[in-house]
Point group: D2
Amino acid sequence: MINIAQFGAGFIGQVHAKNLSEHPSVNFARVYDADPARAQAAAEKFGTTAAATIEEILGDTSIDAVLIASSTNTHADLLKAAARAGKAVFLEKPIDLSYEVAQDAAAVAKEAGVPVMIDLNRRFDASNEAIREAVLSGEIGDVELIELSSRGPSLPPIEYLKVSGGQMRDQNVHFFDLMCWITGLEPVSVSAMGSALVDPQVAGVGDVDTSVAILKLSNGALCQIDAQRRIGYGYDERIEVNGSKSMVEAGRQRTGWVNRYSKDQISTNGMHAGWFERIEPTYRAALDAFVDALEKGEAPSPSLEDGLRAQRIAEAATEALTTGKAVQL
Amino acid sequence: MINIAQFGAGFIGQVHAKNLSEHPSVNFARVYDADPARAQAAAEKFGTTAAATIEEILGDTSIDAVLIASSTNTHADLLKAAARAGKAVFLEKPIDLSYEVAQDAAAVAKEAGVPVMIDLNRRFDASNEAIREAVLSGEIGDVELIELSSRGPSLPPIEYLKVSGGQMRDQNVHFFDLMCWITGLEPVSVSAMGSALVDPQVAGVGDVDTSVAILKLSNGALCQIDAQRRIGYGYDERIEVNGSKSMVEAGRQRTGWVNRYSKDQISTNGMHAGWFERIEPTYRAALDAFVDALEKGEAPSPSLEDGLRAQRIAEAATEALTTGKAVQL
Amino acid sequence: MINIAQFGAGFIGQVHAKNLSEHPSVNFARVYDADPARAQAAAEKFGTTAAATIEEILGDTSIDAVLIASSTNTHADLLKAAARAGKAVFLEKPIDLSYEVAQDAAAVAKEAGVPVMIDLNRRFDASNEAIREAVLSGEIGDVELIELSSRGPSLPPIEYLKVSGGQMRDQNVHFFDLMCWITGLEPVSVSAMGSALVDPQVAGVGDVDTSVAILKLSNGALCQIDAQRRIGYGYDERIEVNGSKSMVEAGRQRTGWVNRYSKDQISTNGMHAGWFERIEPTYRAALDAFVDALEKGEAPSPSLEDGLRAQRIAEAATEALTTGKAVQL
Amino acid sequence: MINIAQFGAGFIGQVHAKNLSEHPSVNFARVYDADPARAQAAAEKFGTTAAATIEEILGDTSIDAVLIASSTNTHADLLKAAARAGKAVFLEKPIDLSYEVAQDAAAVAKEAGVPVMIDLNRRFDASNEAIREAVLSGEIGDVELIELSSRGPSLPPIEYLKVSGGQMRDQNVHFFDLMCWITGLEPVSVSAMGSALVDPQVAGVGDVDTSVAILKLSNGALCQIDAQRRIGYGYDERIEVNGSKSMVEAGRQRTGWVNRYSKDQISTNGMHAGWFERIEPTYRAALDAFVDALEKGEAPSPSLEDGLRAQRIAEAATEALTTGKAVQL
């Protein structure tokens, strides 16, 4: 049994809190939120107690680990404080919107020597795991092209976009990580193009809502990532990895199995309504991996380094988007 | 909060026990099994207490309802006793292998006036619900042909087949129910043909392992049901309803979304390993429906009459299988 | 170069005439039709000359073979006359609506010793050939269940149905043949059920428009054939063969590759408009097989015996449909 | 009846010659090839006569039109000569590998005022036509992202690559045209990245075999085109057009409809063996369009301008590939 406390009880916080409350190897020790009422509500809903202060958690030696699901601008400080308090850390991505701040926090955590896992949860999607295994086993031969699509059903609020760091840092960062994790390869350069098509305010805050990034990987293979904040047909995430021998795909997922045959048309259930419906199971699987690593005394993965790498690629892609030139990594 | 006790802690009993233990509106009050050690183990695993006797449950006035998941030969007696004790009943199908005994038990329960639900759980499959809605809404026009496939991955033990009542009563009964429930129509006659292809011992116990039944429904529409105890590609359950306007299908379900493209072949994940993997979610959904009916004071569905009807069709189909003649219903 | 003349210049006659005119190994020698104007028009359209009489063709020793595509009631007489004149014969099915007449004509042709091929053209469908090969190669293990669907877009005229011999003889006969040809097995008994759902006049002429037939094959395997004269979603022909190891399917064919993704729905092109659009390529492939057999001096296939067998099964199925009893073959 | 002569009797020349010989509105008047024996063989095979010289065709006033399918380096001169001789021209792409030479030849043809059609034959693919119609009709809303894949089964000979102009000019040019034709939009800038992964000799001749190009269109929409000379699973061409309302796709095409269900896997027929098997029908459809335009006295399409535009984009993409910078169009 591992005693875990959580910081943050917002939307994603509640997803994590539910998983903590149901996990057979976890004692959900405490929950903290900057808003005490929200902490209290979550505590009641998920069978734990609310902490009044951060210190109440970090100072409690019975607590083995903390799950940081608070707002992004608190991640780096909480990571550093938790690491210094000797807690294992499960950290929602990103470490910090500033790559420099993120590097600094990661250095502190590394020095403290505590186990840290970054919640790059798409690694725990069953399809993604299957294609990675196919790629790393050599089944498809040498990787030559990888394509990733990330397409959401609606534009986030402009207020959110203002502080999000931009599409490369906010949306693509997951896919930069998948690209490396699935292929086992590092990128050497990146180009990108983007537009604000959904709402002119997106351009007003210096961002894009539709983009394509191309990367060259260390073996010369190419990667293309298309990202759209708003599409009309739900949520669409798809990956192809094309090798010298064959191709493997984490294909589109329909939400059901009902087929309709009518004159001139065959139709079936459509895509998921949003990203959460599509990847919800990965939150639980990520927690399983964290708990499992702690129980076995192994380093949890994805690591802080994985998180930093994805952020570093996002930095370069952001520059490429702005300058129209390929950026070396 | 509804207090529910359970009879039976075998394989399906444990599925129900887990659902009772997790249901937000249920207090899992007690579990009984003919084997006290098995009852005790289940009680510990699912956070309830073991009952030493049946009476300990039926005599406890705080218990609102019972879930009967014990061996088939105990169903009728437990149904009668529970009904007489005024308990609502959630009953694993069938009521009894003998249609006469089943009728008698149903009559007792009806007289007692308690709510009874038969666990014809395939009604709670999302695809089946969707095609029923399409059919009953008139979307496909008049029903003209319905096809159901029920194909399992392996032959049950011969010892089980000996006491199962035969393929029509044991396997097809679910599909006789679906046929009526999806179309809203009653059958008027049935023909059937069968063979023992998997193991000669199946014929030795007077049963078949591969069969096709044809039914004529009250509006003249036809229904065909193929049933195979053992196929080579996992578990396959599929339904087509063909109307005068269009066709709707509860299609084959793949277990994943990984596609492989190689020379001359495209492949994807296969079917479920077995019936349980395929229909597991329906057990929880059926319990939800039972609890919901009790909370609202409505009659739960599928009803005892639904269970009797399916068994009555199975009787006729068994006769048709033996005689080679169409049997009127 | 083989000199071939043709009897009949109606709808199917024109399909054959076009194929004769384009075949690189065929000299399309003459065309005859009971309506001289129709013969003349076909002759001009397909680059041949019209024959004024049947004898003009049968008496011409330069003509090697005849293709009989005239109305069904002339098949048996033309077969006999052509066989006696020493011509190879390519015969549209059926030999005759009367099984006795068909047997008699077949006996005459057999005695004459000429090559005769029955145009059971679905044998030349690429999917059907592929599943047959899979079955006969042992890939799927022992055949245990075969399912065939034959569903057309519209009811033929009642005048046609009056003289068609009924759904088993007119529509199912192709599928009785496929069942035997694909599995290499013979049927031992047949049951059937049918309804007139599309138009009450169908019942008025003693026929059905919707039916299901079940057959038991010589190894105990079962076969089910559903046949619908009119469905709402185009033309649907589908075959599954389920063996002890795996299953192989000649699946539904969409008419195109355009996919549309919209909110809650994914759709694609529908089915073919009718049977002709679906099986048109098989007419040319059947002619190829006939010409190839003549060139090699081999017996063409499907043979007269194949045609007789399919008709014999249709007779039994018609009886089963009427009596509600399994009929032995 | 239109009299058409053809230049070139190589592989693609024979495809065109067959279509000319079978077209109901075409009289295939003459065929010329630099190799007289090849011209003679084609003349015999396709029922026309060989021309000894180019002048024999251009000087023959009975010839209405010429189809130029000779080697690329002869296109521009033949186009100019044919235009000056007043012949309508059906021209295999490209006009010339040099964009300047192509512009010059196009100017001459334009001045001559003869109808000229460029064989950008993928425009005549049924799926491509359907998605264009969906896009231009407004069905999908505003175009926001278009993705095209062009993936072939094998590397062309290095000798061919040396004179091909590079992947952008040789392979992508079709897709630059489709991008504009399907969306009705013009590109404003292009970035590209490429690698020589299949054979180091590809790099040796200054080319790539695997590339990704990104374009921005006039409305801000993005386009990505991946091109691979050699993949392991046959020939794969696929297009998605994603609009503000919905998405439409010219999907992957399987070569058949046979499905196999085995333990843990469902498989079906794979992709076409090569590009020719996939797009063969478009050659005939393109010829139909040319003949139809001549008969109606309309300007044939795709026009010379369409061909020039595609080549202009290829020039810019080639520069982008080399420099790593976005190139304005």
